[in-house]
Symmetry: C2
Subunit: 436 residues, 2 copies
């Protein structure tokens, strides 16, 4: 494709909520002036991923196509180039990023090759998101299943199905129970939503498919602190625990700090719990990337997020914006950082686009400010909890709210309709039990 001359190159890293909304924000503002900028999107994946629905894929509630949207069918008018690859280095001194491009299928069925590419930028919007945080707990990285991308979700689903297949061939009662004991580490939103969906899946579809294993599976949710969904108040904790324990049969354990994971299961101090499937949902931290800079960046210690100013740019480089889970932005009013959540990431992405526009045309930058719209979690079939506009909602109304809110946020009419269809069908027919 012919290069644009005199255009400023804006490079967006990542195709998650923040990255895609940054692109849509540029598209909104520059569509009529598209000769002024050249937009390049670089991402590990060629689709936008609706990350907060991953647990639905892991439990057959949705299919991959329900939570992804192809980058290549975003409005392409303002997208000059899309590069699929891993970002390995960001050099702030030279204004270049290094990309390890995805292995391509070579002509006529030969195996692939990777190549390294250097890409210069005038403006950079880095939205690389977060990765699983194993907190240096021995064995956690090697022996657990994280849930941070589509491959992770597929592996968990396949592993759950495989566990039932394995157990179906066993005769020893203890071995069967060990094979069907699923441990979820972490009682945050991901952990509790996964526990709820997994309980539904195990109790319904998998019990129907393997009738002899009825009642032999067990789901244990381990929370290190004394509250589930700790970012919310005690009402949430109480309600979530009630639904999981009483309605869905999940064993919820508080103050259960995992000290060690092995092939055999987990250890909590002196206690061992045998399990062949340990799912790690204990936390995330900003995606690691190699920044090269004379003036060092400031990172927040716990979450390893990059500290940016209220305009979402680096204090030392006003042409570099960091947004989404990768960024540490302090809410001036409360003095607290904005949370790593989708609704914040989308607004941050959009504001970065606005500030690129402001900078390019010499206008003053806008500061980031966002009031939480609300918080919803879904716990299996028809169970949900919400905190919206000061109201606490549970049961059917919350479940509907969850479905409607999520459908409205899914990008693309096609993906919306697919997801609506799957959710509707889930009410009448069994969920999907194919390995992915």
């Amino acid at each position: 494709m012919p290069a644009k001359t005199n255009a400023k190159r804006v490079v967006i890293l990542g195709s998650g909520f923040a990255g895609v909304y940054a692109y849509l924000g540029l598209h909104d503002r520059f569509h009529a002036r598209e000769r002024d900028i050249e937009v390049v999107l670089v991402s590990e994946f060629d689709y936008f991923l609706f990350l907060t629905l991953l647990q639905d894929v892991a439990t057959g509630d949705l299919l991959p196509a329900n939570i992804t949207y192809p980058v290549r069918t975003l409005p392409s008018c303002c997208l000059d180039r899309f590069i699929e690859g891993n970002i390995t280095k960001i050099n702030l001194d030279t204004g270049e990023i290094t990309i390890e491009e995805r292995e391509r299928l070579l002509p006529n069925g030969q195996s692939g090759e990777t190549k390294k590419t250097e890409l210069r930028y005038d403006y950079l919007i880095s939205a690389l998101g977060s990765e699983t945080n194993f907190f240096d707990i021995p064995g956690a990285n090697e022996f657990t299943y994280p849930l941070k991308n589509l491959e992770d979700a597929k592996r968990i689903k396949n592993r759950v199905i495989d566990s039932f297949e394995e157990a179906d061939e066993l005769t020893d009662e203890n071995e069967i129970r060990n094979t069907l004991r699923f441990i979820i580490v972490g009682g945050g939103p991901t952990g509790v939503e996964l526990a709820g969906e997994l309980a539904d899946y195990v109790n319904a579809e998998l019990t129907r498919a393997y009738p002899f294993l009825k009642g032999k599976a067990e789901i244990i949710l381990l929370e290190g602190g004394n509250r589930l969904v700790p970012q919310m108040d005690a009402w949430f904790d109480k309600k979530v625990c009630e639904i999981l324990s009483d309605k869905l049969g999940v064993h919820v354990r508080y103050d259960a700090k995992v000290s060690d994971v092995t092939q055999m299961g987990v250890r909590i101090g002196e206690e061992s719990i045998l399990s062949r499937t340990v799912i790690w949902a204990a936390g995330v931290k900003a995606r690691k990337v190699d920044f090269v800079s004379r003036e060092p960046l400031a990172f927040e210690k716990m979450s390893e997020r990059v500290k940016v100013n209220a305009h979402l740019s680096l204090p030392t480089h006003e042409n570099i914006f960091i947004v989404g889970d990768q960024a540490w932005i302090v809410d001036k009013e409360t003095g607290m950082p904005y949370p790593m959540r989708a609704q914040f990431a989308t607004r941050e992405g959009d504001l970065a686009a606005e500030n690129v526009y402001n900078h390019l045309y010499g206008q003053p930058s806008t500061e980031f400010e966002w009031k939480d719209l609300g918080f919803i979690i879904s716990l299996g079939k028809r169970g949900a909890l919400a905190h919206v506009m000061g109201m606490r909602i549970s049961g059917y109304p919350a479940w509907w709210l969850h479905r409607i809110a999520y459908l409205s946020k899914i990008i693309g009419i096609r993906t919306k309709m697919r997801t609506a269809l799957e959710w509707t069908l889930n009410a009448f027919t069994p969920r999907d039990v194919t390995r992915l």
Copy 2:
């Protein structure tokens, strides 16, 4: 699961049309007498695959979930065991088959292992289907993309998208055209349907995603004989050629016998055509499997199908049934073999189930007999041809007939509705452009 005592074990090999309908046939007849038999289904895949829609997946028209149905959600009442694995040997002398079981995800994220299993049978229904026939043409196996299973379809889709990505970075006009030249070898139903769908995909979605490459892609269909869709009459050939050439811009070449395939493209005698993506749809033959038997089986030479009698069993072993693409069954009326097509496979599978029942309860076996219901092919958006009940139909009516006939044959309400949704959406929104 506890073993049944005194039950006769019926082993079904394969989960395609013939295998799944054999199971459904057993379920129909034995449901009330399920203690009399133990049914084991062995298949390479844990889903039924609607094989004749593979080209739709390869071109983004449908998604994998639209053409698959999980084996684990077939009515499980009569299915005592499902084993996912490759059948490597059938020993008729000992009455045992050898299965190389699928690699399982080991506990806690460790890589898998395979194991060999021997399985005894009382009755065997072998429905292993067919595989790509490369006709020993040099390079065909190494350098072309076949289209016989879901992985093949994904690879073709990914390769087509990759070709556009590669071409988008090139500047040399010749190199661009070579990269975007797609060759399809074989003008049978698979080849022409794929050519039609690929032309639509390339002309619409991919041109929108890569506007600078507009008009640079070329699709060439090579037919070795002098007629497209040779199983039908000259009207089909003429119509198919018209639609592909005039409406869709596919270059159709007759009498183009590929003599050689290399990394650079194909050779037809002295002529070379450069192409980096050669798709092989030239033919199929029965799946190869190692039969061990004192009394040797009879194979048809060309297609390597196993010759069975009118009851679909081996002349030497009345407890062994071969059905679907794997079987050579002669139509008594015409003296010709029944074709390797889905509608025949489903009836053969069902009849094998009936004859297991007949044999077990000492009733006379039924002979296979089936009149062709009709023949439909679909050629891209709204183009189709049909020959049904003596009538030739083209254009919209044939397209609708194709959609309705296929939807009626897809197994499972859920898969039906998903497919109906995708086809409906295809009329209004772009098809899927994600690598699979």
